[in-house]
Amino acid sequence: MSFIHIKGLEFSYVNEFEEPPVKNTVLKGIDLDIEKGEFVAVLGHNGSGKSTLAKCINAINLPEKGEVSVAGLDTINEENLLPIRKRVGMVFQNPDNQIVATIVEEDVAFALENLGVEPSEIRRRVDEALKTVGMYEYRMHAPHKLSGGQKQRVAIAGVLAMEPECIVLDEPTAMLDPKGRSEVMKTIKMLNKEKGVTIVLITHYMEEAAQADRVVVIDGGEKIMDNVPKKVFSQVDLMRSLGLDVPQVTEIADFLHKQGYDISSEIITEDECVQALYELLKEQTGK
């Protein structure tokens, strides 16, 4: 079985303040399998159900129908709660709301203290996690004096210290400036490539999704697409109709493709685009 296995997942929020209670079904039968070491981006507009999906992976939300399991552990089983959360770390959008302590290293140690790890082992893992995300020099700082990107890296270190097999990031860059965004993206990619951590990245930024191995598009609580980034972004019209964007380079390639020029519509990186446009222009001159 896959590392993360989701089958027929349904989930709804019930608003009990209304009379009669209003049930709002957010996930309507999602099937998704994620293998160890994958880097999966999840796209979808606000309210499409992608954050709800993320919270199902580490047993914050429990499935109403269907099943979710992590490393063979079913989330519905309460005994699996801590083992699952230890394996799947979560990073949220607002860095301010996930830092618990008043000193960086104390915060990184938080999860390990909760798990009852030996003090010397906590020390070792905290130092290692902080070095991995490049925040070791800031270990004695107060979190509120760090920049957004730095805070988010501290938050990543906080889950990294648990030595999880997977990290789910729910729009980790939404509140950051371009510099912070690239810091966080670099960290995420490094964790995936060098440490083999499985990454599930929920994002609104197409350029970030384009860096993943695989892109899953969610709309109205259903999985619409699940493919490599090239194949997903080349569906420019479909993406637009879902309220999503495509990278600018894909847009121009798609435009020229539709005009009848001989250019691939599956261009998602700057390098590919420069190359393709260059060849197109050269070819035309050559004729």
């Binding site: 507009h45 400036d177 510099k179 609104h204 197409m206 350029e207 964007d245 435009f255 700057e270 222009l281």
Partner: protein, 285 residues
């Protein structure tokens, strides 16, 4: 006449403390009425501090600010009326909503201006239409709305004050692509309808490129330049050196030029890139 003018504007945070930091350093600037200005600069470049001077929230340590020809801080009693000429929408403005209904919240600014109820009502109806808030939503509590709707109500609250200058700090941050386009679209529409000055602060060069006619660049507390959008993007290399990300499409065409493709245009929107490609391709056929 310039609607906003600054003379040697300097502002220092925490003077006489160990945290002393010059946030705005000797800025001289003249913004003409009716422009749609993009304000860019990395975090800490002083752009937020600068805009807070435009409506008198901060008092310059030295130098002066003129709004519509009137000098701020000359007479403290006159500050409030001048402040009403410049509407300021902060980042994540939905966090400042507080009234029981959206209607009342939008009315907060106009009420502070001392307008009568009929006028307030007229303005609320007008801005609600402009930002796409239906009359059913106006009677709801702002806390029941979705993120995008809240943001639009908050922006409407400032628009209802009918300022001559509307300043928006990162109005689209945290929204999904569709929400982004909606917010920026309505701001552009507002600008075209009202013909007044809009200053758009954003980290997204793509958005700035698409929507503004002029760009103001702040770098390390200093004014780097204030010029037409085309001319600013012509200096793409300098902007990148400052740590500002120019649009992806601009980078692509700059590289093409470096590879020996001959064209003089500065490309910063995909629409223009498409037109340029078609022109280049047809010329070479």
């Amino acid at each position: 006449m310039a609607i906003i003018k600054t003379e040697d504007l300097t502002y220092v945070y925490g003077e006489n403390t160990p945290f002393r930091k010059v946030a705005v350093d000797n800025v001289n600037l003249e913004i003409e009425s009716g422009e749609m200005v993009g304000l860019i600069g990395h975090t800490g470049s002083g752009k937020s501090t600068l805009i807070q001077h435009f409506n008198g929230l901060l008092k310059p340590n030295s130098g002066s600010v003129y709004i519509d020809g009137e000098k701020l801080w000359d007479d403290k009693a006159k500050l409030r009326p001048i402040r009403f000429k410049v509407g300021l929408v902060f980042q994540y403005p939905e966090y400042q909503l507080f009234e029981e209904t959206c209607y009342k919240d939008i009315a907060f600014g106009p009420k502070n201006m001392g307008l009568d109820n009929a006028e307030i009502d007229r303005r609320i109806k007008e801005v609600a239409k402009m930002v796409g808030i239906g009359s059913d939503i106006l009677d709801k509590s702002p806390f029941e709305l979705s993120g995008g709707q809240k943001r639009r109500v908050a922006i409407a609250g400032v628009m209802a004050m009918e300022p001559q200058v509307l300043i928006l700090d990162e109005p689209a941050s945290g929204l999904d692509p569709k929400g982004r386009d909606q917010i920026l679209g309505l701001i552009k529409e507002y600008h075209q309808q009202k013909k007044n000055t809009v200053i758009l602060v954003s980290h997204s060069m793509e958005d700035i490129a698409k929507h503004t006619t002029k760009i103001l660049v702040m770098n390390k507390a200093k004014l780097f330049c204030y010029d037409d959008t085309v001319k600013v993007f012509h200096r793409a290399a300098e902007l990148e050196e400052m740590g500002l990300a120019v649009p992806q499409i601009t980078r692509v065409f700059n590289r093409l030029r470096a590879m020996g493709i001959g064209f003089d245009d500065d490309v910063y929107t995909t629409k223009y890139a498409g037109e340029l490609m078609l022109r280049l391709l047809s010329k070479r056929k």
